[in-house]
């Protein structure tokens, strides 16, 4: 087991004038035994970053160290890692046993030791009765487990997962997610997990790396990423539906969006142009009675309501700005065209600088 250090890691394709940078200097320290999820939209460089740790992509700049060893020039096989691929990458002509044993065979382990290791891994993953099957005779979930088994038998210092759940159906995905969590608890191996699914990220991770456009936007626990997003990107990417981001101007105790002025429950961190963030689930609809009396309430003009079962999503506008509100499914739904008054809890407001997109406290 080992820690992973990324120091100013840069990746670019091509050189000189034609250079096309895709990762712009990522710094991260991943502790021994930690489960870290890299999440971001497609094309943000998250897979590239993982493949650089694996050694499948060259590192254009900076350093990657596994444990105390800088691995920039080390072959993938010698980095003491194991990787689970999105489409499993099982060798189609080999049986499950051979698939799992292949890496060990190349490392010239004695056959009885290979046998023992594969049996043990197969036991953990409940694959023992499938060892003689070929991959094509297995279901998606079973293939997924074989791919994980192949990683486990190598007894690596680091597990790398490249969107391993995206080919599974929704139910199996949840189940496999739990299995991966259980596995990590049992084995305690440092793991890096890439996904574009924020639910996977939130549920699996001890810490999350949020990436966008080749940059690391935030590196923190799921609570931090959700509760104190460092940038507008993180704010809108984590959480569903996305956080409402209102562009406007702070003027004393009021926040002005176009012609509409909203009164703030607590002073903003500074005057001037700012972006106000408020999650749909944190804005509270007022109950009908007290409304007229309360001048601090925000009037939301309702445009559309969606029923999701346990909850309803109310789409509307605060002044000119679009705003989404999440209310309980059992509440009486507001009519389109009606006006709902909102209350914004002071501790739930987030402020961002419109120029940099960074959080302002």
């Amino acid at each position: 087991m080992a820690s992973i250090s990324l120091r100013k890691v840069v990746k670019q394709y091509g050189t000189g004038a034609k250079a096309n940078p895709v990762i712009h200097g990522v710094d991260a320290e991943i502790a021994d035994g930690e489960f870290v999820v890299i999440v971001g939209p497609s094309g943000c460089g998250k897979s590239t970053l993982l493949r650089m740790v694996a050694g499948l992509e060259e590192i254009s700049g900076g350093e990657i160290a596994i444990g105390d060893r800088v691995v920039n020039e080390v072959e993938p096989a010698d980095r003491d890692i194991a990787m689970v691929f999105q489409n499993y990458a099982l060798y189609p002509h080999m049986s499950v046993f051979e698939n799992m044993a292949y890496g060990l065979k190349i490392r010239k382990l004695p056959p009885e030791q290979i046998r023992a290791r594969v049996d043990k891994a197969a036991g953990i993953l409940e694959l023992s009765h499938l060892l003689q099957r070929k991959p094509r005779e297995l279901s998606g979930g079973q293939r997924q487990r074989v791919a994980m088994g192949r990683a486990i038998v190598r007894d690596p210092q680091v597990f790398l997962f490249d969107e391993p759940l995206s080919n599974l159906d929704a139910k199996l995905r949840v189940q496999t997610r739990l299995e991966i969590q259980k596995l990590h608890r049992e084995l305690g191996v440092t793991s890096l997990f890439v996904t574009h699914d924020q639910v996977e990220a939130m549920t699996l991770a001890q810490r999350i790396v949020v990436m966008n456009g080749g940059r690391m936007e935030q590196f923190g626990t799921p609570e931090e990423v959700y509760g104190r997003p460092a940038t507008t990107f993180v704010a809108s990417f984590i959480g569903s539906p996305a956080m409402n981001l209102l562009k406007g101007r702070v003027d004393g105790a009021r926040f002005v969006i176009g012609d509409t002025a909203l009164s703030l429950p607590q002073p903003a961190p500074r005057e001037g142009e700012l972006i106000l963030g408020l999650r749909p689930e944190h804005a509270l609809p007022h109950d009908g009675q007290a409304v007229a009396a309360d001048a601090t309430a925000w009037p939301l003009k309702v445009e559309m309501v969606e029923m999701l079962g346990a909850e309803r999503l109310v789409y509307g506008r605060l002044g000119d700005a679009p705003f989404t509100l999440r209310i309980d499914g059992t509440d009486a739904p507001p009519q389109a065209g009606a006006s709902v008054l909102l209350k914004a809890p002071a501790e739930r407001l987030h402020w961002f600088d419109p120029a940099t997109g960074r959080r302002v406290d």
């Binding site: 694996a54 993938p76 691929f85 990458a89 292949y102 890496g103 190349i106």
Partner: protein, 282 residues
């Protein structure tokens, strides 16, 4: 589609039977001819029932005889044909596999140039370059040798192209997985690519074996010694031309013998052959 109409069934059977007759009748005649003596065949009308000289003719054909034209034993010719067809088929497959492997999996200078160079030779059949090729082979003193018979026919753009296309369908993750497993390029080639391509290899082997066996023009040029004739040339040489009497019974027996090995290869490898053409195991 299952249809039960007796008339239609009859008709289709009739057409098939006619087809079989058209193909099989000449073969039958050849067989009948090989069971008579040379003089019996040339009488009119030609006998249509097998005669009594089967063993005589066939052993004469296999082990050499004393008629006009070439007298080399067919047994040896068959061996030469078989050996060169095998060398051509195996050589072609080996070289094509390796060159396709290089083109698909390695980045080397002028990789595209080499691919296109190979591809362009697709348009140049042996016949087009036969003059210069003959010059090269004869300067290298390879006339009348297995090398002369096979080497110029081994390089194959078609097979290289076929394997290239197949390798391109192998997912990149397999390469990456085997890299992480610690397999070097040749190990990957042997343990992953070869087993995956085995049905294509089998299909190609059938095609190339028959191609090698049926070579006529090239062996005609490079073999001048009777002991190096492949069987196809042997048949030709047995017909002495002019007014000389030909041993048609022996020629027919030889022709039938020459058909057996390719037929065997097709029949025995049929299952693999079809599989290789129809599906790539994934």
């Amino acid at each position: 589609m299952v249809e039960r109409r007796p008339a239609l069934t009859m008709l289709s059977h009739l057409i098939l039977v006619l087809g079989v007759l058209i193909v099989a009748f000449p073969l039958y005649i050849a067989f009948v001819a090989s069971t008579h003596t040379a003089s019996e065949i040339v009488q009119a009308p030609m006998p249509l029932l097998p005669g009594s000289h089967f063993l005589e003719t066939w052993s004469a054909a296999l082990f050499g005889n004393s008629g006009g034209g070439s007298k080399a034993p067919v047994g040896q010719m068959m061996w030469i044909s078989f050996a060169s067809a095998m060398i051509i088929a195996v050589g072609k497959i080996a070289i094509s596999l390796l060159s396709a492997f290089a083109i698909v999996y390695f980045r080397f200078p002028a990789r595209n140039f080499f691919f296109w160079a190979i591809f362009v030779t697709l348009m140049l059949p042996v016949e087009v370059r036969i003059g210069p090729t003959y010059q090269v082979v004869s300067d290298l003193k390879m006339l009348n040798s297995y090398a002369g018979l096979t080497v110029p026919l081994i390089a194959s753009a078609t097979a290289t192209f076929l394997f290239r296309q197949f390798f391109l369908t192998v997912p990149d993750e397999l390469v990456e997985a085997s890299r992480i497993d610690g397999a070097g390029p040749l190990r990957f080639f042997r343990d992953v690519l070869l087993p995956l391509s085995k049905t294509s290899i089998a299909a190609l082997f059938v095609i190339q074996f028959i191609y090698g066996w049926n070579q006529y023009l090239w062996p005609l040029l490079v073999t001048t010694d009777e002991s190096m004739y492949p069987v196809v040339i042997g048949i030709k040489r047995m017909i002495s031309g002019g007014d000389a009497a030909n041993d048609w019974n022996i020629i027919m027996a030889t022709a039938l013998l020459a058909m057996i090995p390719p037929a065997l290869v097709v029949v025995l490898m049929q299952r693999w052959f079809v599989k290789g053409l129809v599906d790539a195991e994934k």
